[in-house]
């Protein structure tokens, strides 16, 4: 290749990897794209159903009913659940915190592949796509977090100041989800089979996160407990249960959530960005 003789500062390499600063500025400049995608996608999702946007509320209520029937009434995995609100609230919090991450990561994973048309026509920081997927799933998850408060009140839990911490925990979880979505997006771009594998990853993870049972009462082995507590999903669920049910919050869980969020968000972003041009090939 001949040595480039470009001395004109107005001529810019069309394929250069953008520096961190311009990349983040480009992302920030396009933030309303994320809001608008979320609004459009949510509006469009239920447009052909009879109950329309009521499904955003009906869906979480029905899934709680099904899980409560199986785990609360048939399998009775409520042993040792002692927080306020009983097993129903325990299950509600666990399930919604878990499903929020599951959906954000699943949508983030396909965000590059699903937006081929846009990628091939317009140059923009590709992290915008997993970001939009995360925002969409955050809005989609809001009704289910309202259901958490409804369940808490109907099960006779007295409101405490710690209830106000739940939105903060969800916002924290959103940062983690964005990081995890970027990692999933890059993995899926290189390795399309990931789309088929993800449901199994999450099925394994849902059992390892104490959604349906109290880990403290079912797992006795010392190092197994450590593995559970280091699981990021368990950490977020434990914090949300502390906020709503007044359950003990293990300090290790908070520590795990901090470390996981930092690793997913910073590491995930840098790792995603370093393959910026690979996404053009999808």
């Amino acid at each position: 290749m001949p040595a480039t003789r470009v001395t004109d500062p107005g001529l810019v390499d069309a394929h250069a990897n953008s520096q961190l600063g311009p990349y983040l500025r480009g992302l920030w400049k396009r933030r309303s794209y994320g809001w608008y995608v979320a609004e459009s996608d949510l509006r469009q999702r239920q447009i052909t159903t009879i109950f329309g946007s009521l499904w955003h509320l009906l869906n979480p209520l029905l899934s709680i009913a099904v899980y409560f029937l199986v785990f609360g009434l048939i399998l009775k995995t409520d042993r040792g659940v002692d927080g306020k609100g009983g097993f129903l609230l325990f299950l509600t919090v666990g399930l919604f915190v878990f499903q929020y991450t599951q959906r954000a990561v699943t949508q983030g994973a396909i965000s590059i592949v699903a937006n081929r048309g846009l990628i091939q026509a317009i140059r923009f920081p590709r992290a915008l796509l997993p970001l939009s997927a995360t925002l969409t799933e955050t809005f989609a998850a809001l009704p289910s977090f309202i259901v958490v408060y409804v369940v808490a009140i109907t099960t006779g839990t007295t409101p405490t100041w710690s209830w106000l911490a739940l939105p903060g925990i969800v916002a924290w979880q959103m940062l983690f989800n964005f990081g995890a979505a970027m990692i999933a997006a890059r993995v899926t771009t290189h390795f399309r089979d990931m789309q088929q594998l993800l449901p199994f990853v999450f099925r394994l993870l849902i059992y390892a996160s104490g959604v349906f049972f109290s880990i403290e009462n079912y797992v006795s082995d010392g190092w197994m407990t450590v593995l559970f507590i280091l699981n990021p999903m368990y950490a977020f669920i434990a914090m949300a249960r502390w906020a709503t049910m007044g359950m003990d919050m293990p300090a290790e869980a908070v520590f795990a959530a901090i470390v996981w969020t930092a690793v997913a968000l910073v590491g995930g972003f840098l790792w995603f960005k370093s393959a910026e041009h690979a996404y053009d090939r999808v």
């Binding site: 069309a14 394929h15 846009l118 026509a121 140059r123």
Partner: protein, 253 residues
């Protein structure tokens, strides 16, 4: 604009708008040999094949130039445009652009379940425009594309012609420094084609440079001063539009 005012690549003193230096593009594609299940099991996975789409292409385009690219199907024209737009990874070589390049193509299908209006907004926002900037131009581009009736219908109800008009509308929301047009005008009806050509001319006056890929040689003769003939990923001819097109297609003149 007359030919004598054009930036000539030979002198090298004028400002360049686009500089393409020895660009190579290799695609890795997966071949489906249509083998029977038994063969598939015996031979294993799909076969990856490398396609050498561009083999060392170098072009200099000066500010104010409009260049038409011709060549048979599969000669690498679209790949070259995408390489200039920065959305086609290069195997080798460099591409430099003054300002921002916009690719205007028929493939800009965004979200098929959303309405045309939402697609225009999404396209504009992804380009980095603000919502009010887009809304200020929305009426004009919808009218231009002739989509007033169907702008609130989902994209999957559009015909191919309507879709390409929408893509044109999205790409012309904003004045590009370098406008890259890929067969975008080929699908519309005669009236739309004429309106597009007129709009393209006015965009060209505002843009730094225009590169046009099309099989319609009349369009190139009408709107370009220079033509490049691409064949099998290599430049066969580059120069005055009349000379190159006469050589490319002696019967077209």
């Amino acid at each position: 604009m007359t030919a004598s005012e054009q930036a000539s690549p030979a002198t090298g003193t004028e400002q360049l708008s686009v500089l393409v230096e020895d660009v190579h593009v290799n695609f890795r594609v997966y071949k489906d040999n249509d083998a029977s299940l038994r063969e598939f099991v015996r031979r294993g996975m799909r076969r990856a094949v490398d396609v050498h789409a561009l083999k060392g292409v170098s072009i200099e385009i000066g500010v104010g130039e409009s260049v038409g690219i011709v060549g048979s199907n599969g000669s690498g024209k679209s790949t070259l445009l995408r390489a200039i737009a920065g959305v086609q990874p290069l195997s080798n070589g460099k591409v430099f652009v003054r300002g921002e390049a916009h690719l205007l193509g028929v493939g800009a299908a965004l979200k098929p379940l959303l309405s045309g209006r939402r697609n225009i907004l999404l396209g504009g926002l992804a380009m980095g425009m603000t919502r009010s900037e887009i809304e200020a131009k929305l009426h004009e581009v919808v009218e231009f594309a002739g989509l007033e009736e169907s702008i609130n219908l989902p994209l999957n109800t559009y015909s191919v012609g309507m879709r390409s008009r929408l893509a044109f509308a999205i790409a012309t929301l904003r004045v590009a420094d370098v406008l890259l047009v890929d067969e975008a005008l080929a699908v519309g009806d005669q009236a739309f084609r004429e309106r597009s050509l007129a709009r393209l001319r006015s965009l060209r006056d505002e843009a730094g440079a225009v590169v046009l890929v099309t099989h319609n040689l009349v369009e190139i003769r009408q709107s370009c001063s220079r033509a490049i003939w691409l064949e099998q990923g290599e430049i066969r001819a580059d120069g005055d539009v009349g000379e190159v097109l006469d050589e490319y297609s002696p019967t077209s003149a």
